[in-house]
């Protein structure tokens, strides 16, 4: 059997050609985030900023969860790219946990207060949110998959779920800039809920989405 390995080593070293080294995961994450800012920004400009955006951003009840959703997008994208480099320490998958906890906790606290004051009447149906987050997630995730496939996603499901979380959180952060939703309850149900569904779809389809990458054929 070791003869076979020796033959294989001979064949591989004879077949070696120069390869272009992959840029660092941080650099690739920055490239994708740059694309995400341009893409989501263009959609927000096309649909029009909400008129009271200045006032909303100075309101901590809006600004903290919004900034947290932005950090979820950034940290999840960084984690997804690091996960495609073999040997990356496992703690990298925990990067988005802190901003995710802040996002859920701040919206959750507001939601509890609103429900205790106004009851279920506070929750309207907002199909716009689902449409915007889903529509932004698909092209953002498609570009991400294309970039991740150039590397080595050894754990395709987890990697794609992380990427889907980044894409959906970026969509949600963009949505907040134009959409008139003022209650934490609606933001929690429609925004975080859609982000969760998109992430689960990523988890279940990751193997297929990244299957043609060189290590997972």
């Amino acid at each position: 059997m070791k003869d076979g390995t020796e033959k294989l080593i001979g064949a591989l070293s004879e077949a070696v050609v120069p390869v272009e080294r992959l840029p660092s995961p941080a650099m690739r994450a920055a490239q994708w985030l740059g694309f995400a800012v341009l893409f989501v920004g263009a959609l927000v400009v096309l649909r029009g900023y909400r008129a009271d955006i200045g006032a909303r951003l100075s309101d901590v009840e809006f600004a903290i969860p919004w900034a947290a959703s932005l950090f979820v997008a950034v940290t999840a994208a960084v984690a997804a790219f690091y996960m495609t480099v073999p040997g990356t320490p496992r703690w990298i998958v925990a990067l988005p946990l802190a901003p995710l906890a802040v996002w859920l906790a701040t919206l959750g606290a507001g939601c509890v207060r609103e429900l205790s004051e106004q009851g279920l009447a506070v929750l309207g149906v907002s199909l716009d949110c689902i449409e915007f987050i889903s529509l932004t997630s698909v092209p953002l995730a498609a570009v991400l998959v294309w970039m991740l496939r150039r590397a080595a996603p050894l754990a395709p499901s987890g990697t794609f779920a992380m990427g889907a979380l980044a894409a959906a959180a970026a969509g949600s952060a963009g949505l907040e800039l134009y959409h008139h939703i003022d209650t934490s309850t609606e933001a929690l149900v429609w925004h975080v809920g859609t982000v969760g569904v998109v992430t689960l779809i990523g988890l279940s389809s990751g193997r297929r989405a990244l299957a043609v990458a060189s290590v997972n054929d």
Binding site: M1, K2, G4, T5, E6, L8, I9, G10, A11, L12, S13, E14, A15, V16, V17, P18, V19, E20, R21, L22, S24, T84, V85, P86, G87, T88, A151, A152, L154, V212, S214, V215, D217
Partner: protein, 185 residues
């Protein structure tokens, strides 16, 4: 050999240096053998998984960053190949039926002869594969039986990806003809 030397050798390999690459793979193979043995792969299968790991190392050598240590990079790839080996074995076991002493006998009920049919089909496929031209046989063996990726199979066989695709397509046509030829009337 310390990790820095391996890093340098792999960095040279990324630039296309064949002797450095051969030295790196030869020395890394021993390290991989030890890692794979620790994952609980049976002794007689370790070398297969080492070879699959080396093929993966070749296919994704562009992902190695020479400023990072090389051993965790190699270890992660080897562990992944060991997991895949176990997954394939479990999946194969789910489709296999152990033969006992009476397993080769044939029964009046056609359903009872499924094991015998499977064995005959496997023998026929082996016979047809032997009749394929060498290029087509190699393509089927690498892509369909060993389940390598096109890039990995290209690296091992020295054929281009395009040539492998054509060879596989032709092999399938030939196999279909052989199957029709031998099909019982």
């Amino acid at each position: 050999m310390d990790s820095d030397d391996w890093s340098n050798l792999l960095a040279l390999a990324q630039a296309g240096d064949a002797p450095a690459y051969r030295r790196f793979l030869s020395e890394a193979a021993g390290f991989l053998r030890a890692i794979i043995a620790r994952t609980g792969i049976p002794q007689d299968q370790i070398e297969d998984v080492v070879q699959e790991t080396l093929i993966s190392v070749h296919a994704i050598r562009h992902t190695y960053d020479p400023t990072r240590p090389v051993r965790p990079w190699l270890t992660a790839i080897a562990r992944r190949r060991a997991i895949d080996w176990r997954r394939r074995r479990n999946s194969a076991r789910a489709h296999e039926v152990a033969l006992d002493d009476a397993g080769h006998e044939t029964f009046a009920d056609p359903d009872a002869n499924r094991d015998k049919d499977k064995a005959e089909a496997a023998a026929a496929i082996r016979r047809w594969l032997a009749e394929l031209p060498p290029g087509q046989r190699q393509a089927v063996e690498l892509l369909k039986l060993r389940e390598l990726s096109l890039n990995e199979a290209a690296a091992v066989s020295g054929q281009s990806v395009g040539a492998l695709k054509v060879a596989t397509h032709r092999a399938m046509i030939t196999l279909r003809k052989l199957w029709k030829r031998d099909e019982p009337a």
